[in-house]
């Protein structure tokens, strides 16, 4: 058994043992989907933009994994506070493996939540353009989840306590989400907002999901995937760099 596998398994086990986490992580995005989907759907249709709920589902899936994968950083803080981190720090194991094993586990649980949301959306009437593209969308979701989990482990490594983590989390997550094209098309927004959205990697993840699920794209799938892969590499490097710097 490898170190990466057992640390992945640890996160997955912990997730399935905490039922409240599963419900919590899907509950909030579901509220967004219903409130915005039904609330703004009529306005969206009147503006000649088509079905807003359909447009919204990929964005809300991205939101689910963003919020959920960012929670992985909190796991590192819990490990600091409950002492388990020391057990990993004195083990004869490369730190990058410890970070990656955990981040893959955190990414997996986030992806599961994203899939759960998709299932709920389908139950509410959402239909993907091609069912065969759903596995591709799930792979994209997985890559996004792991990238964000790496990012959050970097943050969790720097911050000492939950209060600090929450503050940074709120400060980062909401702009990443709201300024990404998750909730609105980027075609007709003011230039300054467009520029912000174009440097926000989340926009590309959402766009890739939208392309695979409903056949709408702003940047084109190839560009989406390139940006997403590049971002994942950078965030992995950031996570490893910060995790290695932890002193007990």
């Amino acid at each position: 058994m490898s170190v990466i596998y057992i640390l992945w398994l640890r996160q997955v086990k912990k997730f399935f043992r905490a039922k409240s986490r599963m419900i919590g992580a899907v509950g909030q995005p579901l509220l967004f989907l219903i409130a915005l989907g039904y609330g703004l759907g009529a306005v969206f249709a009147r503006a000649g933009q088509g079905d807003y709920r359909e447009f919204l589902v990929p964005g809300i899936m991205a939101q689910t994994v963003l919020f959920s994968a960012m929670f992985f950083g909190a796991m590192i803080i819990f490990d600091k506070q409950f002492g388990f981190l020391k057990e990993t720090l004195v083990a004869p194991v490369a730190r990058w493996k410890v970070m990656l094993g955990g981040a893959l586990g955190g990414g997996t649980t986030a992806t599961i939540q994203g899939i759960l949301l998709l299932i709920v959306a389908v139950a509410l009437g959402f239909r993907p353009q091609h069912w065969l593209m759903v596995p591709v969308a799930i792979l994209i979701l997985g890559l996004l989840s792991v990238a964000i989990a790496c990012f959050s482990s970097g943050i969790g490594s720097i911050v000492e306590d939950m209060q600090g983590f929450q503050a940074i989390n709120q400060f980062l997550v909401f702009p990443l989400y709201f300024l990404s094209g998750s909730l609105y098309p980027l075609d007709h927004v003011p230039t300054w907002l467009k520029i912000i959205a174009e440097v926000n990697p989340m926009s590309y993840a959402v766009d890739a999901l939208r392309d695979t699920l409903i056949g709408q794209t702003h940047f084109g799938l190839l560009k989406d995937l390139l940006v997403l892969a590049f971002t994942a590499v950078i965030l992995f490097a950031f996570g490893v760099y910060r995790f290695r710097a932890i002193e007990a």
Binding site: L89, V90, A91, A248
Partner: protein
Amino acid sequence: MSKATEHIIEIEHVTKRFGDLTAVDNISFNVAKGELFALLGPNGAGKSTTIKMLTTLLNPTSGTMKLAGHNVVEKQEAARRSFGIVFQDPSVDIDLSAYENMELHAVFYGVRHNELRKRIRTLLEMVELWDRKDTKVKYFSGGMKRRLEIARGLLHHPHILFLDEPTLGLDTQTRALLWNYVKQMSREEGMTVFFTTHYIEEAEAAADRIGIIDHGKLITIGTSAAIEKQTGTKTLEQAYLALTGTSVRDEKADVHEAWRARHRARSMR
């Protein structure tokens, strides 16, 4: 000490500073293979900092430390492989079962898959936790957690076992059990034991040799009898008080923590 003695822990001129605070001040000593060694000292004397440096959690500011011949800074992974540790505070995952905690540790230390289950069973039976192996650790008492950590620390047949204030907050029964396991393993596998404590009677009862540390400096080292002789006192407690004085130390004098808190406060300004 005779020339034939093999030193498994070697500490040479080691100093650790946190900012302008010197936590460990130029200490040098060796521990022989198979020895039970106690580092005794008041709160904030530098015991935990010394153990943290030996176990690669902190780097020394200067000086060298070797475990089983491996420099703890340059040959970190080999040094880490040579020891097991029981920390002062719990370091188990409370959401996992006792068995799962042991399994994680076994994988970290590359215990072969075919002997993993048997080894875990032997150790959990030794600390009398085998019938609770599938219980999540969050339902364990403090003493049970400590027993689990001892079993875990011994899992990979370490050459050296570090125990940082191992019996702090344990009842007499658990304390006696704990020393039984440790001494048994030391006898059977020739394992060296390095522990810190501020209980004089514990150092006297368990250790072959004792080092007394105060204000980051190693004041004396030797058998309990030799230390009494050196200070001209009748008991180790009298010798200890003669060497470290009678002033009361701040209970929370963890210099590293204090330094970090100060550092944080400064960077926030």
